[in-house]
């Protein structure tokens, strides 16, 4: 992998910071996420650098808790979706035949129904609890992962070293593990980042419809939603979680750009 560019470093730094929040968020929080200790939308005061949210809870603490929740949920969802999508995609690519055909058809079909709408129906049906939420998103997302990993695997599988392995009589597992996976890692990781951002915003959207992470648990999307009225009164409350989301997304994208860069070589003084 090429050594990080300046922007890539920024991105990595951001991700590192968020990783800390993911792991230690609640422990860093000065107050509980449910403790009502101030007046709704209260202004910042000593000990409460970011002021209070719509219920008079400490914004900073909510942010830290919410960080763990939001990142956790998205991460879990994406991890699952990859755990499901990649093997499926690879198998489809290697096996081909009816296995591939059926799976691809199914995936295409599912992808025809807008994600939000599918999620809506499912969450309405099963009620929005954390596990349901995560699984729903994961499975809906895995379709896209499937497509990508299938294409990538087909690409690598067509290369001669993979052919050599097959001619050697290697099994599918070896092909996936040793020949394909290492060679499609970076695009997959990149996709992981993008999916993660998407999921993140998606959960935020679901929270907007009241189907996301349920109160009193903090999650950034939900916090934006809950505090949104304040924005028209020129209050900052909703800006913090929104910013938190935005920065993360930017960070991920910066890193991803770096990872995917070099596919098209930079053009110098050619004109």
């Amino acid at each position: 992998m090429r050594k990080p560019t300046f922007t890539a470093w920024i991105g990595l730094a951001i991700l590192a910071a968020y990783l800390v929040i993911l792991i230690a968020g609640p422990h860093l929080a000065p107050f509980g996420q449910e403790d009502i200790i101030g007046s709704p939308f209260g202004d910042p005061e000593p000990g409460h650098p970011l002021g209070f949210d719509q219920n008079g809870r400490d914004m900073l603490s909510r942010l830290l808790y919410g960080g763990q929740m939001s990142i956790g949920v998205s991460l879990a969802a994406v991890l699952i979706s990859f755990a499901v999508g990649i093997p499926m995609g690879f198998m489809a690519a290697i096996r081909g035949g009816w296995f591939d055909t059926i799976l691809s058809r199914l995936v295409d079909t599912i992808m025809c129904v807008p994600v939000l709408i599918s999620a809506l129906v499912v969450l309405q049906a099963l009620g929005s609890s954390l596990p349901v939420l995560v699984l729903t998103i994961a499975l809906l997302d895995s379709t896209r992962v499937f497509r990508l990993s299938r294409v990538l695997a087909q690409g690598v599988g067509a290369l001669e070293f993979a052919e050599v392995a097959r001619l050697r009589g290697e099994g599918n597992w070896w092909l996936i593990r040793k020949e394909i996976l290492p060679n499609v890692a970076s695009p997959l990781v990149a996709e992981f980042g993008l999916r993660f951002c998407f999921t993140f915003l998606f959960v935020a959207g679901l929270s907007f419809l009241g189907l996301g992470v349920q109160p009193p648990f903090a999650d950034w999307g939900g916090m934006v939603k809950d505090n949104q009225q304040a924005i028209v009164y020129g209050l900052y409350a909703p800006l913090y979680p929104a910013a938190a989301i935005a920065i993360l997304t930017v960070g991920v994208n910066l890193v991803v750009d770096w990872m995917l860069a070099g596919r098209s070589a930079p053009q110098g003084d050619n004109r």
Partner: protein, 315 residues
């Protein structure tokens, strides 16, 4: 080539059918009994039973699917369970609204995105490129309803230029309509532009490294001609693709924006229907969305086929 296109069309229809199955099956899992939902609090068991029979809720699943599909084929989408009005009426006007809003947004965002994409590709690595990239990121990085809210804050509450509500009604003048829907459209533009722009850029850069582009440079051509005549035509397919995808999103993914601006579109309508367990509505709108999606993808693919010289001019 025409054979390919026909095949693609067939595939599209097939997919649509599969989707109909999926939608029907999917909506069956919605809990809560529709009959009791309709009759409400003081529903007697007998009344419930009668209603269930009327609604054919007691028939076997497959039978219900077939009748449902038949209805669709004959344009009879059934009646809303909750309001009893014909689904086609309810959906029709709202679908129209959704499409119009999407069209409005697309008309702005697509050309803008593509042009900007070309520019950033040409001036790769320049400040302009970087700035645009960051802006694009910022747009995709914010929840769309929050973007919408910010727009409302600036253009409605503070400046008072545009209405905060996309309040449209039949028979309103075009001018009024545009005024009313500009903010939501703008929000959608911001949301969709970023991806199209970046995709255009990538696609173009991919082609810029092709040796026929080098040939163009070596002919002594200047950047504009190289890009427009030699790079762009060969990058068209992926661009068309992402454009189609985003237009599809404009149609199917705007629930949130509709909610923020209280726009009377199909998205919100469907959310409402889902909450009410109004299956005919849910199925119809879901299928409408899916259809839009399938259709646009099909168009994109067909365009790709048509744009490919190898297929357009076989040996």
């Amino acid at each position: 080539m025409s054979r390919l296109i026909l095949k693609r069309l067939g595939l599209g229809v097939f997919t649509l059918w599969l989707v109909s199955v999926l939608v029907f099956a999917g909506t069956q899992v919605l809990p809560g009994d529709v009959a009791s939902a309709i009759l409400g609090q003081n529903a007697t068991p007998e009344a419930l039973d009668v209603l269930r029979r009327d609604l054919g809720l007691n028939d076997p699943l497959v039978l219900r699917y077939v009748t449902w599909l038949k209805g669709f084929a004959t344009g009879d989408l059934g009646n809303s369970l909750a309001s009893g009005q014909p689904v086609s009426e309810l959906i029709g006007s709202r679908l129209m609204n959704t499409l119009m809003l999407a069209a409005y947004a697309a008309v702005i965002s697509v050309p803008l995105a593509v042009v900007l994409g070309i520019l950033v590709a040409v001036f790769r690595g320049s400040i302009f490129d970087r700035v645009m990239n960051v802006l694009a990121l910022a747009c995709v990085a914010l929840p769309e309803y929050f973007l919408g809210l910010l727009l409302v804050l600036w253009f409605s509450v503070q400046l008072g230029w545009l209405p905060a509500l996309a309040d449209t009604y039949p028979g309103m003048g075009l001018g009024e309509w545009i005024k009313a829907t500009t903010l939501p459209a703008l929000t959608l533009v911001l949301v969709t532009m970023a991806q199209m722009m970046r995709m255009t850029r990538t696609a173009l850069l991919g082609v810029m490294d092709q040796s026929y582009v080098e040939t163009a440079w070596l002919k002594g051509l200047r950047a504009p001609r190289v890009v427009l005549r030699h790079a762009l035509p060969n990058a068209a397919a992926p661009i068309v693709n992402v454009v189609a995808f985003n237009i599809a999103y404009l149609i199917t993914g705007v629930v949130l924006v509709e909610a923020v601006f209280n726009y009377n579109g199909l998205g919100r309508f469907m959310v409402d229907a889902v909450a009410k367990r109004d299956l005919p509505l849910v199925q119809a709108s879901a299928l409408a969305f899916a259809a839009a999606f399938v259709l646009l993808n099909m168009i994109a693919d067909i365009a790709a086929i048509a744009l490919n010289p190898r297929l357009r001019h076989p040996r």
